[in-house]
């Protein structure tokens, strides 16, 4: 459009399938593009196929069908050591018999780089992860967080364009995890490398990624930027996996320009119409707990229902209220802790309300 040559995506998965035993598909019909310089996270529960996807990209596993391309070229016949991809493992995989410096120099040595240049690169990589002066230590003498910094430096020291990270922060405690999330993001931006990151922690995925691919049972449910995933989930699994959602089963009554009426437990709810749900189809209506308002006045929202307060938990910045409404006794509302939150008590009869666009009618999971 502006005269630039159109480059292929950095990474393409084309109809990739993977099975280990010819009967269970670990990955099914995966299509995914990753752009150059992008931070893409594969997010999903354990066993959803995200790590297998990463291992196929690194070359440790071969797809059973389909093709993976890097820079437009298929990499099927390329062994892992010829792919030039940096990989960071969950258990760090630092070589215990070498010093930190030896670990970092290893990828440069096997590439036949001369010692002075090697030394300079190692120093630069250590500076990048803020571990200057640790070159002579053994990995065993470092803390978990320090080891992971070294593992990241080692995956970057030979200047790959693409770095894969397989749950790199999984073994660290929360504070360290947050610190390293920030560090990884800073390094990725600084170097402009493409990162494909695997995690089962949705907060981690939301905090770090340009885009997140949500995996379930070997399929991608949705690929989108974190805020899009949160605000506009396309499927019930995404709605329940990303953040918290009240999911109410119902049936589509009518559709009118992106808004549909859904019958839930004999009542009618107005919800955003997602996808191509036809009239009469089963649906799950997703409502974010923090978008629910509890009040005593009527007429403020399109959806208003009488509810009974079952339980209230005080969580500091907000109150978590469990209500009986629309045929469920576990409807959650999060009420911000601001002056005048109503003084509600368990057993009270209240009105809950939410806007039409804050609830989405999604395709029911049964297929």
């Amino acid at each position: 459009m502006n005269g630039k040559k159109i480059l292929p995506p950095h990474i393409e998965y084309i109809s990739v399938r993977k099975t280990y035993d010819r009967s269970n598909w670990v990955v099914r019909d995966l299509d995914l593009h990753v752009q150059r310089g992008e931070f893409l996270t594969l997010l999903g529960p354990s066993g959803s196929g995200k790590t297998t996807c990463l291992m196929m990209l690194a070359g440790f596993e071969a797809p059973s069908a389909g093709e993976i391309r890097i820079n437009g070229a298929p990499v099927g016949g390329l062994p892992p050591d010829k792919r030039g991809i940096g990989v960071v493992f969950q258990n760090y995989a630092l070589f215990p018999h070498m010093t930190v410096g030896g670990n970092l120099a290893f990828p440069l040595e096997v590439r036949g780089m001369a010692a002075p240049e090697r030394q300079e690169r190692v120093e630069r990589a250590l500076a990048l992860v803020r571990m200057e002066g640790f070159g002579d230590r053994r990995p065993g003498q470092l803390s978990g967080g320090q080891q992971q910094r070294i593992a990241i430096a080692r995956a970057l020291v030979f200047e790959p364009e693409l770095v894969l990270m397989d749950e790199p922060l999984g073994a660290l405690d929360r504070r360290l995890r947050e610190e390293l999330q920030y560090e990884i993001r800073r390094i990725q931006r600084q170097l402009g490398v493409t990162v494909v990151y695997v995690t089962h922690d949705q907060q981690e995925a939301m905090a770090m990624s340009d885009r997140v691919a949500v995996f379930q049972a070997g399929r991608i449910e949705q690929v989108a930027a974190p805020e899009v995933l949160y605000e506009e989930p396309q499927r019930a699994f995404v709605a329940s996996f990303i953040g918290e959602n009240n999911l109410l089963p119902g049936r589509v009554l009518s559709i009118n320009r992106g808004v549909c009426a859904v019958e839930v437990d004999g009542r009618q709810i107005e919800a955003a119409h997602v996808g191509d749900l036809p009239v009469g189809a089963d649906t799950l209506v997703a409502i974010r707990p923090e978008r629910v308002t509890i009040s005593h006045e009527a007429g403020r929202f399109a959806n208003e229902h009488e509810a009974t307060v079952e339980d209230i938990s005080f969580l500091g910045d907000h109150l978590r209220v469990r209500l009986s409404v629309c045929g469920t006794s576990s409807f959650i509302a999060k009420i911000p802790n601001i002056v005048g939150h109503g003084g509600i008590l368990p057993g009270d009869l209240v009105r809950v309300g939410w806007a039409t666009l804050d609830c989405r009618a999604l395709e029911a999971e049964s297929k």
Binding site: I85, G86, F95
Partner: protein, 397 residues
């Protein structure tokens, strides 16, 4: 410090074990080793003879006092049934002395004393005239002696008192020790070459298969050593399975069946098979502790499989190689049954010689000296090993 309560109980509980070790290991080993340098029998049985020989120049027969003393002490030893303890050691220093001593002892009893024991004894046996006879008795009479060690090292004390190598044709123990060391080294290397891939396969297989493979290593390990060794006889002998198969296939003519047993080949084959589990198990234990992501990481960093193996995997298995190697080597160096059964003449090792001297020639002093040298050799290798690799890094499974 006084021991009380649980500590005292703990110490008390280990006492039977300590007593057992002392009684069954330290004491017999100490006694045997002391025999290599301490031989008090002759000195105890012929004290007066030896005292009379004190100050004798060694040229010509000794003084009458020595003849008189031995004429009294030999019959006494015969009556007390201790003569054999004198005859053995002296006979080893001068062959034929066993007969001289026993006959003299018997005949002296019936000989009438006629003024000179010297003439009486020479009359019984002319050997009493030779200085060598008396030199042998004198040498056997020293309580502390290095002669077993000299013999074990193929050395001899020359008449002038200096120590030198024995003539080449009578050197047997040092060549045998060398052969034992070389065979042990060869068996160790062979075990490593065969055991390393097996251990790697077991360590990296899925649990079900690795358990099966481990069982295949362990079942022979649990089988009687004798059964395994004789199984090799069945396979390797001239009329055995392998030779018959080769002849049936026409690969070797019937007249030229291969000699694969009762020689060094047999010793090598059977010992490698018997000792293999001692190599596989420590290696397996070390390899299992190496995360599989290490090789994946090496590949992702650009190392091809050979580079990854040499730079990342092999160094991490060194403690296992050290432990397995040391275990196999030390067991091989003292191996006895297998070479005895399948070694024939050329496949005998130093332990078989020790067994010969303990059971057949009854030269316990020499057996003890050979054992001591073997022990020192093993300890020396152990020290070299711990200097090179560090004993704390060894993993014995």
């Amino acid at each position: 410090m006084r021991l009380r309560g649980p500590r005292a109980t703990a110490v008390a509980l280990t006492l039977p074990l300590l007593a057992f070790i002392a009684a069954s290991f330290v004491a017999p080993l100490g006694t045997l080793l002391s025999k290599s340098a301490y031989e008090p029998n002759v000195a105890n049985i012929l004290p007066r003879t030896l005292a009379a020989l004190d100050g004798w120049s060694g040229d010509g027969p000794p003084a009458e006092a020595a003849f008189a003393a031995i004429a009294e002490e030999l019959p006494k030893a015969r009556q007390e049934r201790t003569l054999v303890r004198v005859a053995g050691p002296v006979n080893r220093l001068k062959s034929g002395m066993r007969r001289v001593l026993t006959r003299t002892a018997r005949q002296v009893e019936t000989t009438e004393f006629a003024g000179s024991w010297r003439e009486a004894l020479i009359g019984i046996n002319p050997a009493w005239e030779e200085p060598d006879t008396w030199l042998a008795i004198q040498a056997a009479g020293t309580r502390f002696t290095l002669r077993h060690y000299l013999q074990a090292l193929d050395l001899e004390r020359r008449p002038d008192g200096s120590i030198g190598l024995q003539p080449e044709e009578s050197r047997i123990y040092m060549p045998l020790l060398w052969r034992t060391l070389l065979v042990s080294l060869g068996v160790t290397l062979l075990c490593l070459a065969i055991g390393y891939p097996i251990a790697h396969l077991i360590a990296t297989s899925p649990p079900k298969r690795s358990n099966l493979l481990l069982l295949m290593v362990l079942v022979p390990f649990w089988t009687s050593l004798l059964v395994r060794t004789t199984a090799w006889i069945v396979l390797l002998q001239r009329q055995g399975v392998i030779n018959s198969l080769l002849v049936a296939l026409g690969l070797t003519p019937d007249s030229e069946r291969l000699e694969m047993i009762y020689n060094m080949t047999g010793t090598f084959t059977a010992m490698t098979h018997v000792l293999l589990p001692f190599m596989v198990l420590p290696l397996y234990s070390v390899m299992r502790s190496i995360p599989p992501t290490h090789m994946a990481a090496a590949a992702s960093l650009g190392a091809n499989p050979v580079q990854g193996f040499i730079r990342v995997y092999l160094p991490q298995t060194l403690p296992g190689i050290g432990a397995g190697g040391l275990l196999v080597f030390i067991l091989a160096i003292g191996y006895y049954i297998t070479p005895a059964l399948v070694g024939g003449r050329s496949g005998q090792l130093i332990s078989n010689m020790i067994a010969y001297h303990v059971q057949t020639s009854l030269n316990w002093g020499l057996a003890a000296a050979l054992s001591s040298i073997l022990l020192v050799a093993v300890l020396g290798l152990y020290l070299i090993y711990s200097r090179l690799i560090g004993i704390d890094r060894m993993r014995l499974g």
